[in-house]
Symmetry: C2
Subunit: 192 residues, 2 copies
Amino acid sequence: MNADASTKRPGGRSTRVRDAVHSAAIALVSERGADQVTLPAVAQRAGVNSSTLYRRWGTVAALLADIARHRGDAGAPPLVGNLRADLENQAVWTLAELSRPGGIAFFRAEVAPDIDERHDGLRECLRRVSERFRPVLDTARERGDAPPSLQQVLDRIIAPLYFRVVFSIPGTDEAYVRELVAGFIDGAPREP
Amino acid sequence: MNADASTKRPGGRSTRVRDAVHSAAIALVSERGADQVTLPAVAQRAGVNSSTLYRRWGTVAALLADIARHRGDAGAPPLVGNLRADLENQAVWTLAELSRPGGIAFFRAEVAPDIDERHDGLRECLRRVSERFRPVLDTARERGDAPPSLQQVLDRIIAPLYFRVVFSIPGTDEAYVRELVAGFIDGAPREP
């Protein structure tokens, strides 16, 4: 099921079909919202036979999850060699990815309970998010800094970002992300 | 759609049917996992005609979301009048609720992209979780303490709990919750 086209030769027909289908799905999700997208509509937009989509992805949710996996981290900001700046940059970029049209829909599709491979989807999603922050911590350690653990970054940066985007909490913007990172890096003990 | 039986007379037939269906669904989710539960199976277990379930809930996801709403906070620990203890108690109880069989499945059903009223579900879910912690902060304020804001509690306690349970991150247990609350209350600035 859901043969992973990324393992095939880049530029091959399978890859071209996947790219066309992904682009069409992303465009339709932006225009209509994820819950109004159907496989035949994606097929039509992509100029691909809808039977191909049913065979290769099966459901819209599986297609969205596949897109989330393939989006990968192209466009992620490069490291600048400063813990605070690098955490901020990765976190701001993560928020932008989640906030773009359909961004959270792709995440929700990936963790949805009705996708067969959902545990794989969850693991893959967590792995991808974690890998985004791991180099920040690794390079800080190589510089001789004592960076936080990846678990702490998950708890203090990534979890609140995802939680706030899933629940559409107002004020979840770049300024909020910078405050989140500042609170994490600087500590600031609470009043007793 | 999905008439809310909680507005009807307690003890009436509608309430009895709802309670029987909820109990049957909770039992089946525990036994089989949420993705193996069907409305006819729930109907059979509950001794209710399956057409009733299709009419009243429509889908398993809508039924699970309804259960999540109705579970409410029965059994939540009483306040003891100490900020740290009250945050710990509510957080430990929230983790226990999420961790019991099907607990996270109910949450995922509530936020799933394929439920029509999903935005209501999200708002209701966030409201319910927030209301669990609001009295802790209100009573601390009444005692003359300077408690954190509800937003801070969302970022520092609730978001990491949900994130870790959704992603099945190992070590998400009562000891972890106590550390989370301690880090939040005591601050502990990070090494530069």
